[in-house]
């Protein structure tokens, strides 16, 4: 039976008393077509799930997460949490997750700071400075990140000596192709005074900044807020430590056989990944900063000058706050991309979440489960970053009355 010859549908318009035309009524057509699309979508989803289930059943496999408690059996080169081959698959994934967070957060900070400087450099009137910034940006932005990572990895590894010939700083820091090995602090009793002093300093600087601003409003006198506050923040934990009587013991690394024992190590893979990500994203950030600054009209600078502000003051007090409003939305997507691109770590052997997922999948054969988890975690990280940037954006928005 072909549908077009179905008499029921052909006669339908005639059947309505007021001459309502089902075929040519836009509302009716929209309703039907939308229903069909939704049904097709649901059917597609159902088919996907049913097909997966059928195929898994054919391979005598089941869907479930109980494999996560099995022993991993493999080791990871560097982890923030304790991990060995006796740990579970779940621990392996969590260790990978923290490595991803570590690299992403460090990458975000370094790339943003670098990007702001390079963006401002590119706007400099000094030809050499702006030329250098332009060259850097164009070079870095136009070469694929993966390729850059390989280059950085080679550049980090090639010139470094073997562990036995490590570059030695005061017998405490060693740099070799095994990574940077540093003394590892172990804090003793009373060490909590340091963070306590730091918290106190944070409150203190906040109040001082408020008070200084009030002073400026009332008397016009400017107090050195920036330098005083940064000094306070740096000194407070040190003073706290001194009061407690330096309750810290350092475990110094020492060469034993093939490798260093004691201390903590930054592996070359991590150094290369961090360098690659930071530099690549610094270039894009620089362009965002430049666009943000250029979006602020020249009149703002001239007005600041006319008020007697120095160039640095004008930039910090007048231009950047306005430029920020233009910069935040594209910066948000930059930071999101950085987090996701950190998964390229797998190419140079840094054990991030993607690396751990790949290995767990390969050893356990639970591809759907493992990658669903990884997918949700990356999604969660991205949504979290986006939420933070949205909050930041809302805070900086022009308050219109």
């Amino acid at each position: 039976m072909t549908i077009s010859s179905d008499p029921g549908i052909q006669k339908a318009p005639a059947a309505t008393a007021d001459g309502f035309d089902f075929v040519y009524s836009p509302r009716f057509r929209a309703l039907v077509s939308q229903t069909v699309v939704v049904l097709l979508l649901l059917w597609g989803l159902y088919e996907m799930v049913a097909n997966t289930q059928a195929n898994l059943a054919k391979l005598n496999k089941n869907f479930g997460f109980d494999f996560l408690t099995n022993a991993a059996g493999f080791d990871l080169s560097t982890t923030l949490i304790p991990f060995s081959s006796n740990s579970s698959y779940a621990t392996a994934l969590i260790a990978g997750f923290w490595n991803t967070v570590l690299v992403s957060v460090l990458g975000m900070i370094v790339s943003t700071v670098m990007g702001v400087f390079i963006g401002i450099m590119r706007l400099s009137k000094n030809q050499v400075v702006s030329g250098f910034a332009t060259l850097f940006i164009e070079l870095v932005r136009n070469i694929p990140l993966l390729l850059q990572l390989f280059v950085w990895y080679a550049l980090v590894l090639k010139p470094l000596p073997s562990a036995k010939l490590a570059i030695n700083f005061q017998d405490s820091i060693f740099i070799s192709n095994r990574g940077v090995v540093m003394p590892h602090p172990t804090f003793g009793e009373g060490a909590w005074l340091a963070p306590l002093f730091l918290v106190a300093a944070i409150f203190g600087t906040w109040f001082y900044a408020r008070w200084a601003r009030q002073q400026q409003f009332e008397t016009g006198r400017q107090l050195p807020v920036w330098s005083v506050n940064s000094a306070a923040l740096v000194l407070a934990p040190i003073v706290g430590f001194a009061v407690a009587g330096w309750p810290v013991t350092w475990s110094y690394p020492a060469l034993a056989g093939f490798n260093f024992k004691g201390g903590m190590t930054i592996v070359p893979e991590m150094a290369a990944l961090l360098l690659g990500l930071s530099i690549f994203y610094a270039a894009s950030t620089a362009e965002i900063v430049r666009s943000g600054i250029m979006a602020v009209s020249q009149g703002q600078t001239e007005a600041s000058m006319a008020l007697g502000l120095t160039r640095a003051q004008a930039l910090r007090q007048v231009i950047l706050p306005q430029a920020m409003r233009v910069m935040i939305p594209p910066m948000a997507s930059q930071l999101l991309s950085l987090t996701k691109d950190s998964s390229l770590a797998i190419a140079i052997g840094f054990p991030d979440l993607m690396y751990a997922s790949g290995t767990v999948n390969n050893q356990s054969g639970k591809a759907i489960e493992v990658f669903t988890l990884a997918l949700l975690v990356y999604l969660g990280l991205s949504l979290l970053t986006a939420a933070f940037m949205n909050w930041f954006n809302a805070r900086l928005k022009l308050v219109e009355r």
């Binding site: 097709l40 059996g73 080169s77 590894l157 490798n259 190419a347 052997g349 390969n362 050893q363 054969g365």
Partner: protein, 344 residues
């Protein structure tokens, strides 16, 4: 009315999608070739030359199966896979069989939904170190950094070995074999570990192979063999018995050169291997066609042996260049482990 037609069309496709569960044998016959998963380049096992012609022991297993099924050993499409991709490619149906120096383990046979069709090469994991380190035994490797490929049994044995011997070590694992080799050569690690046959093969790629030594210890059992998906017993039997035919041929002295003369042999074992019709005294003929049981023609064993050679020919052709002796891979009657159940 268009959308209604679309819906009808879609449901037809839906039905066909559900019905598309034909056997691997039918798929392969329809395609006219076998998709065979191989390594990305391992001398002696699966390695492409400059004109992308593949050779090696694993490659010859693919070719033998193609000869058994399609009658032509050249009807193979090689799909190079790294260690991490290989099983997913097989599970998802991208390849029909995997012949990629893969170790037969219990979990791969059970939880991965795969089946190993036999052991075409008995291997074991070893260590390669630069000669200048002056290491004589794996027991001296405490504290060493070890380069390996992720997603392998190698990675697991390594952890076991160092744990069992109460030695510390640092693993540096990469996804791609070439990255592993590069890191080892650049001194990122002291030791490179993989199956011993692989160590000999990879060493040939180094600038000065003699500067690196393979340590004497073998720390694991690595039975390597072809793999198929679970759920298609016929295809499993085809791969398994193609391999057994190669072993049986060596055992019976049948090789690619003498196979046509052997067809006149009166040895009943050879007659069964080559599906030679037997004549009774009264002049009636009887079939010896064991290919039927596999869903193949009577030349199911003749074609692979004629076109690819028996196991000994395959071994000599591919592994002689690595100076690897038959060792455990000799026939059972010569003190090795290669053994085929009888064809009868």
């Amino acid at each position: 009315m268009k959308f209604l037609k679309l819906l009808a069309l879609a449901s037809v496709f839906g039905l066909s999608a559900v019905a598309a569960t034909a056997s691997t044998l039918d798929d392969v016959k329809a395609k006219g070739s076998i998709n065979c998963g191989v390594s990305e380049g391992l001398i002696g096992f699966s390695n492409p030359d400059a004109s992308n012609k593949w050779s090696g022991l694993d490659v010859d297993i693919c070719r033998a199966v193609a000869a058994a099924v399609l009658g032509d050993a050249t009807k193979v499409k090689y799909v190079p896979l790294n260690a991490k991709e290989r099983f997913t490619a097989l599970q998802s149906g991208t390849i029909d069989m995997l012949s990629r120096n893969s170790t037969w383990t219990m979990s791969r046979d059970t939880t991965l939904g795969l089946l190993f069709a036999g052991t075409t090469y008995y291997d074991g994991q070893g260590f390669l170190v630069p000669k200048k380190l002056n290491v004589k035994s794996a027991m001296e490797l405490g504290g060493a950094s070890v380069c390996t490929q992720t997603g392998t049994t190698t990675e697991l044995n390594l952890a076991d070995f160092f744990k069992a011997n109460k030695m510390e070590y640092k693993v540096v694992a990469f996804e791609k074999n070439e990255e592993v080799l590069k890191a080892y050569q650049e001194g990122r690690c002291d030791v490179f570990t993989t199956d011993q046959s692989g160590l000999y093969a990879e060493r040939l790629k180094f600038a000065v192979p003699e500067d690196h030594v393979v340590l004497p210890e073998i720390i694991s059992k690595e039975p390597l063999g072809p793999v198929v998906r679970q759920g298609d017993d016929q295809w499993f039997s085809i791969v398994k018995w193609t391999y057994y035919a190669l072993i049986t041929a060596e055992e019976l002295g049948v090789n690619s050169k003498n196979i046509d003369e052997m067809k006149t042999s009166t040895n009943p074992e050879i007659q069964r291997l080559l599906s030679v019709k037997t004549k009774a005294d009264d002049g009636t003929e009887a079939d010896n066609d064991f290919g039927k049981g596999l869903g193949l023609g009577p030349d199911w064993a003749y074609n692979p042996i004629k076109q690819v050679g028996n196991y000994a020919e395959i071994f000599d052709r591919n592994l002689a260049q690595l100076k690897i002796a038959r060792g455990k891979n000799a026939l059972w009657k010569d003190g090795g482990l290669q053994y085929a159940p009888p064809i009868r």
